[in-house]
Amino acid sequence: MNFYIKSFLIFTRIGMFTIGGGYAMVPLIEDELVDKRKWITREDFLDLMALAQTVPGIFAVNIAIFIGYKLRKFWGAFWMALGTILPSFLVILAIALFFQQFKQYPAVENVFKGIRPAVVALIAAPTFKMAKSARINRYNVWIPIVSALLIWLLGFSPIYVIILSGLGGYIYGRLKSKH
């Protein structure tokens, strides 16, 4: 079978069975491409994984793009990314097509009334986990607090927070290296 069709199908299958985001895909990709097919060495795979986390964008798609590009340049990246995206694209499109009618049933609205506060809790919980891995201490704790307040109370765009905190880190690093 053609390499591109094969890689498209592999990533479609992985994309189809990973519920709950990009990190769930990592062991599946490793098993398929490193262990089974030996398309890529474990060292290269781990390097690309680190890189995919460093750059902005959707983690799962970044992995597909980086592996595809390493193996077959642009078209490798294209077909692997398309494979990753397609299952979720089709599922969500089907839901979007029917969700509005579906939501008119009072029972459905009641179910979602229970789900909404749960979703907010599911977003709040990783904030504290992430604070640990980002090494938040008493000297830099003002950064997340000020950013959150700017977005929450003043309607600041999160994009500015990203730009400012990156720039701030860069300037701080420059000042520190001078002393």
């Binding site: 990973t18 902005p56 799962a60 979007a96 977003i123 709040a124 986990k129 905190s165």
Partner: protein
């Protein structure tokens, strides 16, 4: 015009989306709910819930959903809605393609450069703030209710799910399903 706005909004989300799916929620919310009002706050919360229960990353799921819904809500047909979802989904992954080409040429050399690690020492705490903001912005009357009974039930659900997820690492899909059953029984 709407199609251009959708493209531009999701291109920005892809370009500045550092720190994984949950951090991206804040970015998507900033563009889709706060800035353009393509979705209401509860609609946005619903799509996050759907995202947790269906395959694929939240970035792709919300791009696809918003692309379709925003176009259809503006009065276009289903076919234009599907085109809208293709545009938004393409736009959110396009920066990754562009960056990859740049990275393979330049970035690999500079990945260990002190300037890059300085930038990330600032970005990491910023991303934590983004995540906190996403939760705070969603804690509103539209998601928690305005009637007394619903507010109390919502707060109980919020605290229970928070503890179950943070302290006991319970499965998010299970928590969503159980909360839906509670909603069905309490409000039915």
């Amino acid at each position: 015009m709407l199609f251009l706005q959708l493209f531009y909004a999701f291109f920005k989300i892809g370009l500045f989306g550092f720190g994984g799916g949950y951090a991206m929620i804040s970015m998507i919310q900033g563009e889709v709910v706060t800035r353009h009002a393509w979705l209401t706050s509860p609609e946005f919360t619903d799509i996050i819930a759907i995202s947790q229960m269906t395959p694929g990353p939240i970035g792709i799921n919300s791009a696809t959903y918003v692309g379709y819904t925003a176009v259809v809500n503006a009065g276009y047909s289903h076919a234009w809605g599907i085109l809208g979802s293709i545009i938004t989904t393409g736009a959110v992954v396009l920066p990754s393609f562009i960056l990859m080409v740049l990275i393979s040429r330049f970035f690999l050399k500079y990945q260990k450069h002190p300037a890059v690690s300085s930038v990330f020492s600032g970005l990491r705490p910023g991303v934590v703030g983004l995540l906190a903001a996403a939760a705070l912005v969603l804690m509103n009357g539209e998601n928690f209710g305005t009637a007394n009974v619903q507010i109390i039930v919502s707060i109980i659900l919020f605290v229970t799910v928070f503890i179950a997820s943070y302290r006991f690492k319970a499965n998010p899909i299970l928590l969503i399903v159980l909360s839906g059953i509670v909603g069905y029984l309490v409000y039915g």
